[in-house]
Subunit: 344 residues, 2 copies
Amino acid sequence: MSAWRERLQVDGGTTVTDRQGRDTGALANPSAVGLVAVIVAATDGEPRALTVQVPGQAGGRSDGLPAGPLVPEHPTLERGLRAWVERQTHQRLGYVEQLYTFGDRDRQGDEPHGLHTLSVAYLALVREVRPGGPAEASWRNWYRYLPWEDFRDGRPPALAEIEAKLLAWAGETADPKLRRRREDRLSLTFGLFDGAWNEERVLERYELLFEAGLIPEAQGQSGAATPGDGAVTGQPMAFDHRRVLATAIGRLRGKIKYRPVVFELMPPTFTLFQLQRTVEALSGTNLHKQNFRRLVAQQGLVEETEGVTSGAAGRPARLVRFRREVLLERPAPGFRLRPAKRPG
Amino acid sequence: MSAWRERLQVDGGTTVTDRQGRDTGALANPSAVGLVAVIVAATDGEPRALTVQVPGQAGGRSDGLPAGPLVPEHPTLERGLRAWVERQTHQRLGYVEQLYTFGDRDRQGDEPHGLHTLSVAYLALVREVRPGGPAEASWRNWYRYLPWEDFRDGRPPALAEIEAKLLAWAGETADPKLRRRREDRLSLTFGLFDGAWNEERVLERYELLFEAGLIPEAQGQSGAATPGDGAVTGQPMAFDHRRVLATAIGRLRGKIKYRPVVFELMPPTFTLFQLQRTVEALSGTNLHKQNFRRLVAQQGLVEETEGVTSGAAGRPARLVRFRREVLLERPAPGFRLRPAKRPG
DNA sequence: TCACTTATGCTCAAAATGAGCATTGTGCCG
DNA sequence: CGGCACAATGCTCATTTTGAGCATAAGTGA
């Protein structure tokens, strides 16, 4: 886009020398761009993300998200992403949406040259868990990395310790203004001080833990305290991939409320309860069963099929399928999920 | 992030030669990254975007959004954006959020080398319209560029012609499948064939017009028909900035429904009706006045001040201010706007 | 003071929610 | 084969939340 260069001169910014070698593709201000994918599936009522093994710092390996650099051969960002994912995991992607572009130089501990490294993150939803693919690719329950986000079996046990440490972090500052600010954030994100837990604020919670030094990946950052063990603050991931995962979860939790995206995760036919389990898995909360099915019914999200389940205990459930037509109808529906007092 | 390079080799991807000149900052797969800002204000009940003059193709100038390349001196993407905006428009930014990263090579008519040019777009909301700054920077009513999006005075007149052309476009294909698909999209986005108009689908509408060849910026694309004149399909912008603007409007229209972001556009004190006008300006629809104020009141979004308006016709209105505390309260509120049958 | 205009208060019916209780089919177990 | 346990489904009911209007209050300008 040569107009950029014109602009540069017009605006008096960095001047672009014209002697740059065009054949080598040298640019005035190059950046390295990476593509990262959070690939989500939900099987057996558990939310899963596809992970790969990434060489760690000390020669070990750690979990990471499928990722790779954007190269000129990629016609678009999204196509590039699909290519990397298929190569690394043999998983084909269906629904894909862009998530966020991370480019924080301070944070990622990048190149020393002052060059930027961006990561364009995507969220993908897939139906089936393909067991094949490279051995290093595997599906993991996403709460393994963010255990404090799962309220389906009541308040996560890890939260007690986390809260204690967060309170200590808020209290360790002398500046009353900063302290007040920290407390407000604790209230907003973790529901402390009589605040409410908002299941969409996944990223904010992660960021807060990061700042408070409770995330091992924060090591090497300024002012990071000693992180707790993984059982409490979750298993680490390579790079800042946990942050990317947190972003994805937060986005997905928000989106299922107003767009019928859950169906991207469901098999062709399913029961209403399986659907509910999936929504619950994503949101990390339990829903009122009867009301959930009333909602789904009145929104016309599904239609019945002939089939019913069998074999399991209890009355067989009717199999339904997603009504694609809803996409063309009224304001695109979703679920306004509201946690139930009692599970089930 | 040298780990990327390791990954590359591990995965058998592009090999990185090690002889690259580190001092020049050469990268294996460099990309040019641009930063673009949609800066929004709402004064006198009109939604405005800050534009700058950009050198056009034929030596002329056209409206564009403040933008500039990401350079190594920028500590973060957002800081880089703020720097460019301040230089180009003398406008300081308050609320800023990332919008989308555009990287479609096919579309932007980029570099011939096959290098990628990404644009990371941001949405910024500002309170006051600063008249100062370079002469080329000016506030423009955003419906100037997307006239079909404004339903405040009833159905936009431009829509009739647009719909006719879109129908023609859908009908011009022989393939019945493709035709059906086009019609579905028309229904979904423009509410044709008995569909509903969803004010959030700004981008989808723009994309559709683009594909249908009704957008002058599409010139040079394959299969583009002759675009209509600007009075109907709006004034063009440089590059793909109209697409960026459409993205911003769609995002903002969605966001005001569940986050109190409108207040970023309001002065310190304002009347409820001014607030309503602002929401209406953004959403392009009219709201029921009494219900709007009931909503605002019961959500506790504002608190009264001593002041009242004067001078204007009619009963003076009480001045209110945003209650910042709501940010810490219940699920973060916003406006669920629902168009009123009759304006006012 | 009257006419006009905009701000505010209030009412009412319809729809959407949040919680439970009641019933209906199935697989299983004596 | 009768009865039980366990889910799936149906339905009720009290609240809230919407959507639409009618009515009244309080300034401005003539």
